[in-house]
């Protein structure tokens, strides 16, 4: 304290705990007079402990700091003023009194004068006679007064001059004066008493210190009153930032822990140092400041304070310490931070939203553009295929050489455009096909029934695509890889304009027949070949086909598909699905690898990664030089992947490239191979034989070389023209007209070869070989139509023929609603189909029990029994061969010869198509899960219905565009292929 004192003295310090303006005469710091509100304060209880004061310091401060002294001086002044007032009042009183006294004395003098005069006139003899001596004696002690008394006496004497002379009169007069004197004395007495009293009171009144401390106390009380619950800390720290005073409502430390210490000495933790630094800064700069601090101390945890610090100056203008006031604002800060965070989150959200919207917008745009592209391609394709096919038909008519040339240019250009458009369409289909793959997988897990249905699909000639309208169609048909290779090479050779050798080499272990989507595989091959040809200027383009081990490591070396789920778990291609779901397989899977090798310009290593990207080519100049859309490889890759395989490339610049794809193929059971046919054979080999089928090497040379094709087996080269001539002679009927179109040319060539291989056997027999004929009437796919075109052309309308070959398909409509029934019926009639109608699921089951239908259109929501249940019952029958489940469900089969039904093996799977108003996917899933094959959304439109029928090979005979020939039992049936012109 001593030290402090010294310092304080030096600086002449002092902070006050009062508001600064207290010296503005109590205006800011108005304290009511004790009397008035003493009660109030008494009611309030104070806890005064919070204040911890270094009183000595306070005293010093009050003594030395400007504020303190001014405050004190104000109080003193105030007191002085009050005292002065009292003194003034007293003085006035005294003045009054003395004035009166003077007056009295004056009067007395007058009286005395008179008296003297009387005395002079009457002599002084009466003087000695004193009647009322004792009266005089009473006032003996106050001589002055005696004078006074004397004077009135005399005066009275004067007044009654004329009546004098008598003693009585004088006596009377004396007595009267005496009385007056008495009264006067009495008054004086009272005044004296009052004066005494006043003096006494004055003495009794409090000393300035007392009053001051009282005021201070009251102010203090009020401060406590106001501050008692405020979350504030008020303090004063000296120059060294040691606490000299602190007020804290919630004290956690005792006085001795705080006073004389600095923040850092008291608290430990985050923020302490900073706040102290801040105080120091204020101290040094001499400017008050406010700042927030977040403390993280052991003492009171994490709290945020808003701290106001102001410097305190000594009278000399030096800083001698700081006053600080802190308010806890933890909650506010927390709230504020929360708000800020929220605001930030909102901003982020908004930004994200905009971003998303943008993305959505872009995606939509892209989708629209794609859709547009697809639609346009589609729209272009339909008329274009009309043009091309008509041109082809035209080419079969009699034309002269020039015309033929023109026509061939027309055809090849048309084909090119068609190819381009197909590419674009395929791409968009494959892309949407991607979407469907997880969907498939989903089903595999969920419903084994679906798997079965899938399997059956593949067993029966329903393209799997019927499940997914609008997505890539993958079909599973038997085909002969050798023939595919051959055909692809032929096609390439036909349009070959370079001196290249095209070679096909199929290893012996490649099965004669496999199952797969031959159209797609052909497409891939064609693409790769044309690519290879395009970039190769001399040398060879080669296809090598051979069987490899299953690329899946955990597989058995010769993967049998019996226990499927494990065989190909990672893959999810449709083919795999198919295999996996096969209940009892008599087929194996082979992985066939196909290398397409060229000796062309090669691909720089840097370009390889982007090779399979859409619209990308190895380099910009490549595109300029070689043309092309840059779509081919992308499509190939996607197709291969869709089928569960992989496509890779290896290349050496200037030496050539090899594109390799590996695909799983199912191998059909050997005994089935001969009696079932597929369109490929149908279109390629009108006269193939077993010998030919197993031949594995093909070589094609450009037409200009004169020799187009040589089969390794016979090692003979055939002169094209000669063959053609003989061929024409041989079958010179009207069935195949002479043509220079490349396809015809190839076909003939092929036939030729085969015949050669038969050692020139009976060509007629070969041509009409019944074993290779195909009798599937339903051909709706564009590609197939294309292939049908290849098999020869005859222009005869044989619409009615169909009735001969098969009965009209029977269609069952299950629909409870009259209006819908009427509309559907009418539409069917428009499509030239009849159908039976039943009104609910139970009736549908009965109808199916009675009669074999080729197609069931099933409403989903129906009274009595809904479509889903009905479908389940029908599927159960197909699976088990009995109607037990239906019986359980309350649908008794009509009395049918029970054995008859059960003996029918295998039961045909009826395509059941859901008609649903909710086109939502979950509804679709439900349909599939219950065994339905596809669905049409309601309201049904003519086009939907037609597409659906077409998909299920129930051809509405409405438009006849293409004509094809089918062979059946050695007889030629001409048949109309209904290929409806796609409506707009």
């Amino acid at each position: 304290m001593e030290e402090d004192n010294v310092e304080d003295i030096e600086v002449e310090v002092l902070p006050s705990m009062w508001p600064e303006d207290i010296d503005a005469a109590g205006k800011k710091f108005n304290v009511e007079k004790p009397g008035a509100d003493q009660d109030l304060l008494e009611d309030v209880t104070f806890i005064e402990e919070p204040t911890i004061v270094d009183f000595q310091r306070l005293l010093e401060l009050t003594n030395y700091s400007e504020k303190g002294s001014s405050q004190l001086s104000y109080l003193v002044k105030n007191w002085e003023w009050k005292q002065e007032n009292a003194v003034r009042l007293l003085r006035e009183e005294l003045e009054n009194l003395s004035k009166q006294q003077r007056e009295v004395e004056l009067k007395k003098l007058e009286i005395l004068e008179e008296h003297r005069f009387e005395q002079e006139s009457y002599g002084g003899d009466k003087r000695p006679v004193s009647i009322l001596d004792e009266v005089y004696e009473i006032f003996q002690d106050a001589p002055k007064r005696r004078n006074d008394v004397v004077i009135p006496d005399q005066r009275i004497d004067i007044d009654d001059e004329h009546d004098t002379d008598t003693v009585k009169y004088w006596k009377q007069r004396a007595w009267h004066l005496e009385k007056l004197l008495d009264a006067s004395i009495q008054r004086e007495q009272i005044l004296l008493e009052k004066l005494d009293e006043s003096i006494e009171k004055l003495e009794k009144q409090s000393s300035p210190v007392e009053e001051l401390s009282q005021i201070l106390k009251r102010a203090d009380n009020f401060l406590h009153f106001v501050l008692q619950n405020a979350p504030v800390v008020i303090g004063h720290q000296d120059k060294e930032l040691r606490y000299r005073f602190i007020y804290n409502h919630f004290p956690s430390l005792r006085e001795e822990d705080i006073i004389g210490k600095t923040d850092v000495e008291i608290f430990k933790g985050d923020g302490v140092k900073e706040s102290q630094d801040f105080k120091r800064e204020v101290l040094e700069r001499g400017l008050p400041g406010k700042r927030e601090f977040t403390f993280e101390t052991d003492l009171f945890g994490a709290k945020t304070f808003l701290i106001y610090v102001e410097p305190v100056f000594s009278k000399a203008g030096e800083t001698i310490g700081v006053n600080y006031m802190g308010m806890e604002i933890t909650d506010q800060v927390r709230r504020r931070e929360k708000m800020a965070k929220l605001r930030e989150e909102i901003a982020v959200q908004k930004a994200r939203e905009t971003e998303l919207n943008k993305t959505i917008h872009i995606t939509e745009e892209t989708m629209r553009a794609k859709q547009m592209l697809a639609t346009m391609s589609h729209e272009i394709r339909s008329p274009l295929s009309g043009v091309v096919s008509m041109a082809e038909i035209l080419s079969t008519t009699k034309l002269d050489k020039d015309q033929k040339q023109l026509l061939s240019v027309m055809l090849s250009s048309g084909d090119l455009v068609l190819q381009l458009i197909n590419d674009i369409l395929d791409l968009s289909k494959v892309e949407s096909g991607r979407v469907s793959r997880p969907f498939l997988r989903h089903f595999r897990i969920r419903d084994s029934r679906f798997s079965v249905c899938l399997y059956r699909f593949l067993q029966f000639p329903f393209p799997i695509s019927c499940l997914f309208s609008g997505v890539m169609k993958l079909e599973a048909t038997k085909f002969r890889p050798r023939e595919v290779i051959k055909h692809v090479l032929q096609t390439a050779a036909a349009s070959l304009k370079k001196m290249l050798i095209l070679e096909g080499n199929v290893a012996d272990d490649v099965p004669i027949e496999v199952i797969g989507d031959v159209l797609r595989i052909r497409q891939i091959l064609t693409n790769l070949i044309s690519n290879a040809v395009k970039f190769t200027h001399e040398g060879k383009v080669k296809i090598n086909l051979y069987v490899i081990a299953d690329p899946c490591p955990q597989d058995q070396p010769k993967p049998k598909i019996e226990n499927d789920e494990l065989v190909l778990p990672a893959r999810n291609s449709v083919l795999d699905e198919h295999k996996e779901n096969e209940p009892q397989s008599h087929e194996t899977v082979v992985w066939i690898r196909c290398d397409v090798q060229d000796t062309g310009i090669g691909i720089p290593e840097t370009a390889i990664p982007s090779l399979f990207k859409k619209y990308m080519q190895a380099g910009a100049d490549t595109a300029r030089k070689y043309g092309g859309t840059g779509l081919g490889l992308a499509i190939c890759k996607q197709l291969v992947e869709l089928m569960g395989g992989s496509l890779t490339v290896s290349s050496k610049e200037h030496c050539g490239s090899t594109f390799t794809f590996v695909l799983p193929h199912k191998v059909p059971h050997a005994c089935e191979s001969s009696d079932e046919t597929d369109e490929f054979r149908d279109m390629d080999d009108n006269a193939s034989t077993e010998d030919d089928v197993s031949c594995g090497f093909f070589q094609f040379k450009p037409r200009t070389l004169g020799s187009l094709f040589s089969a390794n087996g016979s090692n003979r080269t055939h002169d094209l023209m000669g063959n053609e001539t003989s061929f024409n002679k041989l079958d010179g009927s009207s069935v195949v007209a002479e043509s220079s179109s490349k396809r015809n040319f190839e076909n003939k060539n092929k036939s030729r070869t085969k015949k050669d291989k038969e050692n020139h056997g009976d060509q007629d027999r070969a041509f009409h070989n019944p074993s290779n004929k195909k009798n599937r009437p339903s051909i709706t796919d564009g590609m197939r139509v294309d292939s049908d075109r290849n098999s020869g052309c005859v222009s005869s309308n044989v619409n009615h023929e169909r009735a001969k070959t098969s009965a009209r398909p029977k269609i069952l409509l299950v629909e409870d609603h009259v209006v819908n029934v009427m509309v559907a019926k009418r539409m069917m009639r428009q499509l030239n189909q009849d159908m039976d109608v039943v009104n609910n699921g139970a009736e549908a089951v009965r109808a199916v029990q009675r009669c074999d239908y080729d197609l069931v259109l099933m409403d989903v929501c129906m009274p009595v029994m809904d479509g889903l249940q009905a479908t389940r019952l029908i599927r159960s029958y197909e699976k088990t061969g009995n109607w037990d489940e239906a019986r359980l469900a309350g649908v008794e089969p009509p009395d049918l010869p029970s054995g008859d039904q059960i003996l029918k093996e295998p039961r045909k799977r009826i395509p059941i198509i859901a008609m649903t108003a909710n086109a939502m996917s979950e509804s679709a899933e439900e349909c599939f899960a219950n065994g339905m094959d596809s669905f049409i959304t309601k309201p049904v439109t003519l086009q939907n219905l037609k597409q659906c029928l077409e998909r299920y090979s129930i051809c509405p005979y409405q438009h006849r565009n293409y004509i094809a020939i089918y062979f059946k039992s050695s007889k030629i049936y001409t048949k109309t292929i209904v290929h409806k012109q796609e409506q707009q």
Partner: protein
């Protein structure tokens, strides 16, 4: 007199307005396409069937919604039917009301259902009047010896 062209124009305008104002949608044109010489009255037949059916359904619905304990499943089934038939003939606005109606059924919201029922009735009557007017116009054209213009 130009009555036939005039009527025809009127017919076209009227039909267009029906599509424009959303009373009908494409499905109705589907019906019209299904009509040909062999079935000259197909549209009228279907639509009459729809009228009959709708009135029955609306009555059923009204009755069902005035039950003490409302069987919402039943109501929903009716609405479903109504939706199906209206969408089959292309009465778009009726169909739209039915969609909302079904949502209320699902929520078992009686007030909503009642409102929807009223709306469905209104829309049904509206579309009925419109269609009847259209058929009248058709009749007039035919009687005047003209042919009904095909809407594209």
């Amino acid at each position: 007199m130009d009555t036939v062209p005039q009527l025809q124009r009127q017919f076209v305008e009227y039909t267009t307005s029906l599509y424009r104002e959303g009373y009908l949608d494409d499905q109705f044109s589907q019906l019209q396409k299904l009509q040909d010489e062999s079935n000259p009255d197909f549209v009228v037949e279907v639509v009459s069937l729809f009228f009959e059916d709708s009135e029955k359904l609306l009555n059923n619905l009204t009755a069902a919604l005035h039950q003490e304990n409302i069987d919402y499943k039943q109501v929903d089934a009716h609405v479903h039917q109504f939706k199906g038939s209206s969408s089959s003939i292309g009465a778009q606005r009726v169909k739209n009301v039915c969609v909302v109606f079904r949502n209320y059924c699902e929520e078992k919201n009686l007030d909503g259902c009642m409102v929807c029922l009223q709306q469905a009735k209104n829309e049904y009557i509206l579309v009925r009047n419109k269609l009847e007017a259209l058929f009248n116009l058709e009749q007039q054209i035919l009687q005047a010896g003209g042919s009904v213009p095909m809407m594209v």
